[in-house]
Amino acid sequence: MSDNDQQLRVSKIRNGTVIDHIAGGQALNVLAILGIDGTSGDSVSVAMNMPSDRLGHKDVVKVEGRELSQDEVDVLSLIAPAATINIIRDYEVVEKRRVERPSVVVGVLECPNRNCITTEDEPVDSRFAVGDDGVRCEYCDTIIRDDLPAHILAE
């Protein structure tokens, strides 16, 4: 593999965020959880199933023109606990962040209980408390243990 190939797959960004060490196959879920769908016009590049010493296979996401906040980064812990975040300014890494599990995630997941008030047309965001082995809806107490990406709210 030449340097040029590498270049094509994931080009360097000037200003923005590089999310590295995402578990292989989770990149699109990372974009969904961050609400990045390309409509803002910023360039987004995704590399999936890259070889990784730590993870076997990893995904990498680069978002041009947007610096993720710590809150946004923390939400990623639900699906990409090993992710590392590099904030880039003028092609240089100016800050590295690790994801930390937040105590609560707001407006990210959809409650699977169809009789939960947060699934109705009401002016309320979903709120899930994050526990050791799952997340719990703060409105109806429903617990999600498995397959969190399937519950990410469509924008």
Partner: protein
Amino acid sequence: MRHDHIISAKQLSRGDIETVLDHAADIAADPGAFADRHTDTLLGMLFFEPSTRTKMSFTTAMKRLGGDIVDMGSVESSSVKKGESLADTVRVVEGYTDALVLRHPMEGSAKMASEFVDVPLVNAGDGAGQHPTQTLLDLYTIRENAGFDDLTIGIMGDLKYGRTVHSLAHALTTVDARQHFVSPESLQLPRSVRYDLHEAGAEVREHTDLDEILPELDVLYVTRIQAERFPDESEYREVAGQYQIDAGTLEAAKDDLTVMHPLPRVDEIAHDVDETTHAQYFQQAHNGVPVRMALLDLILGGDQ
């Protein structure tokens, strides 16, 4: 006690519970002394699904404190029918009243509604979720009859869908009661409730047969098993039949066993039990009034 809204029994500490029950006991001992307590108070009744009994109990409680109620009426005749959100409805009605009582078919509705209002809001049942005043009147009945010290209780019937049971079981962990859960296997406690009880330090003992533990019990709390939980009528009859009690069943129990039921009952407690000293379910329903009076008085500032 300082709570703006009463959403779930889980928000109440042992101290909060004792405060409400002590106050309810004072009221029950001399209701007349509280008759002018809240003469200028209006309680807003928002019942998005019918629950005549709960509504009557709250209405009685408010009127016995000297206040009055304003009632949204049935959903069919209200703005809700025209598609108004719950958040809008409560924000309008809070302007008319000093406190709100909400009954709604969706889980989490009371918590959400409380986030939009400044007057105290009491949850009178949110779908399969919480019904804290039922829990408080259950606790009051248990304390009056059996006390909280060294309490052994059996909870029998539909433990899977019965929100009354989930809320009561959780509240009983605050008084360290020994709890036995008796149900058909298909209607055992759901995972989330069992998890909560473990977290609260309770040992969950599950049984399919009442006979194993009946002689140990101070309280037997019976709930209805509904036919719609079963694929067909014959299976329902066979299973439900094993969880019905009559006076004969109770011969194996302690003399001072207290039998409770949230009512209405169908045939899970035979009428011959009514004549025994065990039967406390009608008194339990009556206790809803002093308990709701106590709670309303406390959230409306009666403790100041």
